[in-house]
Symmetry: C2
Subunit: 371 residues, 2 copies
C-alpha cells in the first residue's frame, strides 16, 4: 500500500490530467517524502526532488551527502543520489521521467521554485513534454490537514504557548533581548522541540517587523514584542505576545483594544463556509473604525509543516474555510521609530466553528503588563 | 561615491560585456546590498532582487513587509517594494530593467536561482533581451575577501572555537545531546553572535552527516561529534570537533590519526598558487593510504557571508588558491550505524602561505578524550 499522502497526491495528479508530479521546494518535498533533507534549506546548490508518475512510479532525488539519511527516513523506496560536483540534477530528473515513460507527457512541476537553469535543461532534454505549474495542486492537497497533523500542531502549539507564558512573565528590566531569547531556546528544547526560532524586540525595536534579539537592554516603559516559532516532528508553531514593562500608557491600551477587538470580531465569524476574504475585510474594518491602519497586508497564514502556508488570509484568497484548515491570526500594528503591537495565535477549523490551538493558556485580551 | 562592492560588481559586469546584473539568491543579494532581508531565506514566496545597470542604475526590490528595514539597512537608496498578493515581482523587475534602458540588452542574471516562472515571465516582457548566467561573475567577485571581511571572519571564528572548547570539555555522561546544544546557544549569544546553528550527535548518531541534537543521553564510550555554525554581522563560522567520552579505542585512534595526517599533509602545501584540485587529491591519497574512504566528496568549502560558498575543495574546481580566500577543511569519515569522525577548521590564504582562523585555541591533533 502506498502511503496516504502519496496516494492522495497521485489521485489529484491524475484527476487534473497530469502524467507526472514533480516537487522541488523544501515544503512540498518534505510533505511528499515525510522527511526533510537537512541541507535542502541551507544549501541552495543542492536539489531534492520528488517524482510521482503514472500508476506506480515514485522516486526521490537527493544529493549523495544525504543519501544515508534519505534511505532511512524517506517514504520513497527509490532514492537516487547524485554527485553535486559532477552531475546535473536536471539530467537525473530528465532520466527518471524518461524511465517512467512520460517524456512526452503532461508534467506538473514547481515552476515557482524550480531554478530557470533546470527548467531550460529539462525543456532541452524533454522537448515533447508539457510542463505546467503545480502550485494549486499542492496547495489543495496540503491545506486540509489529517487528524494526525492537527494533533502534531496542537502539541507544538501548546508547548510554545507554555514557554511564551513562562518567558514573558519573567522579563525584568536590565536584562538584554538576547537573555529572553536564551530562555526561549532553553525551554523550547527542554520541552521537546526539535528546533526553534524567535524574535525579540524592545522599545523602538518592537516596531520592527522581523526583529532579531540584540544586546539592547530592556528598560522600564519598553514595549516588548516576543515571537516564537517552534518545530516538532516537522510541524510548526507560531505564537506572538506583546507586553509593556511597567504600566501601559493610555495610547498603548487604546491601540491594543483596537487590535484585540478586531481579532475578536474575526473569531466571532470564523467557521466552515466563511470566505477567507471576508475574514480579512472584517479585520480591516474593525481596525479602521479604531483608527488603526494594519501594517501587514494579511491577517494570518496557514501553518503546518511550514510556518507560512496557504491559506494566507487576504482579500485575494478566493476560497472558504473548511474543517481541518489550520492557520494563525496575527493583528499587527507598527509605528516605526516608536513601538509595535502584535498578537498571534493558532487556530483550527472544526466541523461547526473553530478551536484555538493557542490563546487560552496565556491570553492576551488585555495588554500584558510586567510588573 | 558608490559603495566598494557595488563598484566592483559594476566593473565586472561591464568587463564581461553585460548591460545589467541581477541577483535573486539570499547570498548574492546580501553580498550586493550589504543587508539580509530577514524573510528572504524563510519564505520562498517572497523575492528580494538587486539590479545594477549601465553606469548608474542601482535598485533593490523587496516585499512591502520588509520595506522599512530595507530603507534603513540596504546599500541601495532606490528601494522598490511590491505587494506579495497583488503584484508579480517579475513584472517589477521587468519594469526596472525597461526604466534602466536595457530591455534589449545583455542581462546577467541568476538563472541557477531565479524561479522558472519568473524567467518565463521576464522572457515574455523583455523578448529582445539576452539573459545569461552570472554565477561565475559573483563567484569571482566574492571569493577574494576584503581585509574587512577577513577580520569579521576571524572574530566570529575565534568566538566559535572558544565556545567549542568550553562546551566540549564540559560534556559529561548522563546529559542529553540537547543539553550540549543549549550550552552552545547560550555561550554563542553571550559572546556576541547574532545567530547560531549546531549539530550534536553521540554514539551511533555521531555517524550521521547532518545530525540534529535529540534527547538521547550521552554515555561513557560514546563518540560525540559537535559542529557549530555561528553568525556575526552577516559573516559565518563553521567549526567541528569530535571527542570520545572516556578512553578512545585503538580503532578510533587509528582512524583519527589518518584524518589528522591527511589534514596536516594538506596544511603543508596550502598557499597561493596551489591548484584547488591538488589539495583534494592530497587529502584523498593520504586517507586511502590509511585505509579510509572519505565520506564527503569535498574537503572543505569557502566561507564568508554564507557557510558554503566557493571554492569548494574538490577535484573539479579548476582554480588556484589566492591571498584572502577564506575556507574550511573538514576531513570527515562516517561508519553508518557505528560512529563518525569529523575535524573542521577555518583558514585564510595569506600572501606567502596560510593562517588558521581556528585550530590553535582548541587543537584536535589528537582525538579529544573527555575524562
Amino acid at each position: 500500500m502506498e502511503h496516504e499522502v502519496l496516494a492522495k497526491l497521485r489521485t489529484a495528479m491524475k484527476a487534473q490530467g497530469f502524467d507526472a508530479l514533480v516537487a522541488l521546494s523544501q515544503d512540498n518535498v518534505t510533505y511528499t517524502a515525510g522527511f526533510l533533507v537537512p541541507s535542502h534549506a541551507t544549501n541552495r546548490f543542492r536539489r531534492t526532488i520528488t517524482i510521482l508518475a503514472g500508476d506506480r512510479f515514485a522516486a526521490e532525488i537527493v544529493v549523495n551527502v544525504e543519501e544515508t539519511l534519505a534511505r532511512q527516513q524517506s517514504r520513497f523506496k527509490d532514492i537516487r543520489a547524485y554527485n553535486q560536483f559532477t552531475q546535473d540534477p536536471a539530467d537525473v530528473l530528465a532520466d527518471a521521467l524518461i524511465e517512467a515513460g512520460v517524456a512526452a507527457g503532461r508534467i506538473a512541476i514547481e515552476l515557482d521554485y524550480m531554478p530557470a537553469k533546470d527548467y531550460i535543461r529539462l525543456v532541452e532534454r524533454l522537448p515533447k513534454a508539457t510542463l505546467a505549474e503545480c502550485k494549486d495542486l499542492y496547495f489543495d492537497a496540503r491545506i486540509i490537514k489529517t487528524d494526525e497533523e492537527v494533533k502534531l500542531l496542537r502539541t507544538v502549539g501548546a508547548l510554545t504557548e507554555r514557554v511564551m507564558r513562562s518567558v514573558v512573565t519573567s522579563i525584568r528590566p536590565g536584562e538584554r533581548e538576547k537573555d529572553v531569547a536564551k530562555r526561549i531556546m532553553d525551554q523550547m528544547l527542554d520541552g521537546g522541540a526539535d528546533g526553534v526560532r524567535y524574535q525579540v524586540g524592545s522599545g523602538v525595536r518592537s516596531g520592527i517587523t522581523n526583529c532579531k534579539p540584540t544586546d539592547k537592554v530592556i528598560e522600564a516603559g519598553d514595549v516588548v514584542r516576543v515571537e516564537i516559532l517552534g518545530e516538532m516532528q516537522n510541524y510548526r508553531s507560531n505564537v506572538t505576545r506583546t507586553a509593556v514593562i511597567g504600566r501601559a500608557t493610555d495610547e498603548q491600551k487604546r491601540i491594543w483594544d483596537v487590535l484585540v477587538g478586531a481579532r475578536n470580531a474575526c473569531q466571532a465569524i470564523l467557521k466552515p463556509g466563511l470566505p477567507v476574504p471576508r475574514l480579512w475585510q472584517t479585520y480591516v474594518e474593525a481596525c479602521h473604525k479604531g483608527g488603526v491602519e494594519p501594517t501587514l497586508k494579511f491577517l494570518g497564514h496557514g501553518i503546518g509543516q511550514t510556518i507560512h502556508e496557504e491559506p494566507y488570509i487576504t482579500e485575494t484568497r478566493a476560497m472558504a474555510f473548511q474543517p481541518n484548515i489550520t492557520h494563525t491570526m496575527e493583528p499587527l500594528y507598527m509605528i516605526p521609530g516608536r513601538m509595535g503591537f502584535h498578537i498571534e495565535d493558532m487556530y483550527v477549523i472544526t466541523p461547526t466553528g473553530h478551536a484555538r490551538i493557542t490563546g487560552d493558556l496565556f491570553p492576551n485580551d488585555r495588554l500584558i503588563e510586567i510588573a
